[in-house]
Amino acid sequence: MAALDKTPSGAARADNTEPILSVRDLRTQFFTSDGVVRAVDGVSFDLHRSETLCIVGESGCGKSVTALSILGLIPREIGRVVGGSIRFDGMELTKLDEGEMRRIRGNRISMIFQEPMSSLNPVYTVGFQIAETLRIHQGLSNKAAAERAIEMLALVRIADARRRAGEYPHQLSGGMRQRVMIAIALACNPQVLIADEPTTALDVTIQAQILELMVELKERLGTAIVLITHDLGVVAEVAERVIVMYAGRTAEEATVSELLDNPQHPYTRGLIGSIPRRSTPGARKTTRTRLQEIRGIVPSLREEIPGCAFAPRCSIATERCTSQRPPLETHGPRHSAACWETAPSSALTATSPRS
């Protein structure tokens, strides 16, 4: 069929298979008074159009720094993206200047944060804060932007949107504030929405509502989502693909079913040890499991790690693990992991029983 298809729509479709966002070997460092912190140390992933990608990993493994690096929001005085590439819709973001980045932020790539209580400016009305994005990126007049802001509030299902638009953040609950953040983020209909633990600070019941809202709006607007989370229950519910991060690196990347059914990296296996299996999808919907605690401590990011960062905690580690860094190797269609011992090329250990 592809051979016969010479219409422009065919070309467009071929284009659509290109990832909208492609991160390769991203490295971000902070320069502190007592040394260099390698917060992100070689992360790679692809995000396809209208896809939901989850990033999971323990606290401090560089998830937020990855997100901020993509938007160019690492404060220049303390840190910098030192290597790798971030390609977005044909552009290399690491090469853009501040003005060009500004036209992308909030417009084509948006971000929402973990802290709904402090992420909105306390001295401006929420309507103003939504309208501001529209004025900046779409050049709407004050009046048109204000009207559109009210529509956005209604879209994120805030009742009585017209009145709420005139209220200040302190007059709104945490859940409502996060809805406002979503409204701000989606106001310009971005291609990518990065949500950094958007529900962690909220009550459990509110968490589910916010997540549902995000998924629904994503389908409606066709936005691709990078969802950063600690919650494997959330991953199971909303993710299409997952990347597992460890100590600033990608440990494993796979579709959600592959990852949950057939984890390759020992770290991933440790994380999902207690997650209910696919055979009981109903159970997955209701169980919200935090990441499993794994024995040992996360390595300090201040020293260079020559080998596998997980080696000190890994039960199947070998000599090679501590001296050579395992590359991200393909384990099947859209499944890769960075581990010497479970890599397909490692003939002896590839068939070793899962722990």
Partner: protein, 313 residues
């Protein structure tokens, strides 16, 4: 909002009452016969008696206080002992230069210090920041009269750009007034500028690390707008507070500055009155200064509501 302002307004009444009480008893707390104190060491008993009767000091004290408060409420601050003119008349004659000096100082300080503080916070730990902070340490350390004489030497004597001293009233044209007030305002404004720049920097630094600043940047807001619209408005409450506190410093500063630059304002009136022990003038000025501070504080309190919606309830 209205109740907030009303509450603030009511709160000024007890403050002013305490000030009036203090000022009234000022005369009576000094050891000895107040009339003799005012008349001075060389006065004859007849002169002392005259003063006593003139000030009503021979009447019962509660009656004196009642009369004092009643007169205050009518805007009568008493009569000068030496010139025999109403204190209010003397004040009105001297008010313009002082008011112009105070307003000019305030304007110069605020207009220069706030951008300095914002810049220093934005470029924290850079060379610009160090220059601004160094300047603000200097502004604190060097006394007003020294800065004043230095400015006179450079800009009036050497460069001859501006008059050495004196004051040109507004009635003779605003150009002359501005020329005569520039150096005094700069001299007096130095401390003030240092104070405001410092607090602006500190307050901005705190605000710039807030999550909502990150949100603004993630929205694609331009840097100038992040600084001025998103950060400065949040940083405003401490800055405005310090401008109010600075106003208290301003009053004592005005006295010194008027002396250095030979400006016939309220500061000079105060110094002369103290030297001559013209108590009604001293009392009247204290009341006026206190009232102006209370008024400024009230304005500051009300201005908070412009910056922070959370204060409006």
């Amino acid at each position: 909002m209205t109740t907030y302002i009303l509450r603030r307004l009511l709160a000024t009444i007890p403050v002013m009452a305490v000030v009036a009480l203090f000022v009234f008893f000022l005369l009576h707390l000094t050891p000895g016969d107040p009339a003799a104190v005012i008349a001075g060491d060389d006065a004859s008993p007849a002169e002392v008696d005259g003063i006593r009767r003139k000030l009503g000091l021979d009447r019962p004290i509660w009656e004196q206080f009642g009369l004092y408060v009643w007169n205050l409420l009518r805007g009568d601050l008493g009569t000068s002992i030496f010139s025999n003119l109403p204190v209010m008349t003397l004040v009105k004659q001297r008010l313009e230069p002082s008011l112009v000096l105070a307003v000019a100082t305030l304007t110069v300080a605020v207009v220069l210090a706030i951008p300095m503080g914002v810049l220093a916070a934005w470029k924290a730990r850079s060379a610009i920041d160090r220059v601004v902070m160094g300047f603000s340490v200097l502004g604190f350390a060097v006394p007003v009269f020294l800065v004043g004489y230095l400015l006179i030497y450079v800009f009036a004597i050497q460069l001859r750009w501006l008059p050495v001293q004196g004051y040109q009233p507004l009635a003779n044209g605003i150009g002359g007034t501005l020329r005569s007030i520039t150096l005094p305002a700069l001299a007096l404004g130095m401390t003030y500028m240092a104070l405001i720049a410092r607090i602006t920097r500190a307050s901005m630094l705190e605000v710039l690390s807030e999550d909502y600043i990150r949100t603004a940047r993630a929205k694609g807001v331009a840097t100038s707008s992040v600084l001025l619209r998103h950060a400065l408005k949040n940083a405003a409450v401490p800055i405005v507070t310090v401008i109010g506190i600075g106003f208290a410093l301003l009053i004592s500063g005005v006295v010194i500055t008027e002396t250095v630059f030979n400006i016939p304002g309220l500061g000079r009136l105060t110094v002369d009155a103290i030297l001559k022990r013209d108590y009604p003038i001293i009392q009247g000025l204290i009341i006026l200064f206190a009232a102006s501070k209370v008024l400024v504080n009230l304005l500051i309190d009300i201005s908070y509501t412009l910056f922070d919606p959370r204060i409006r309830q």
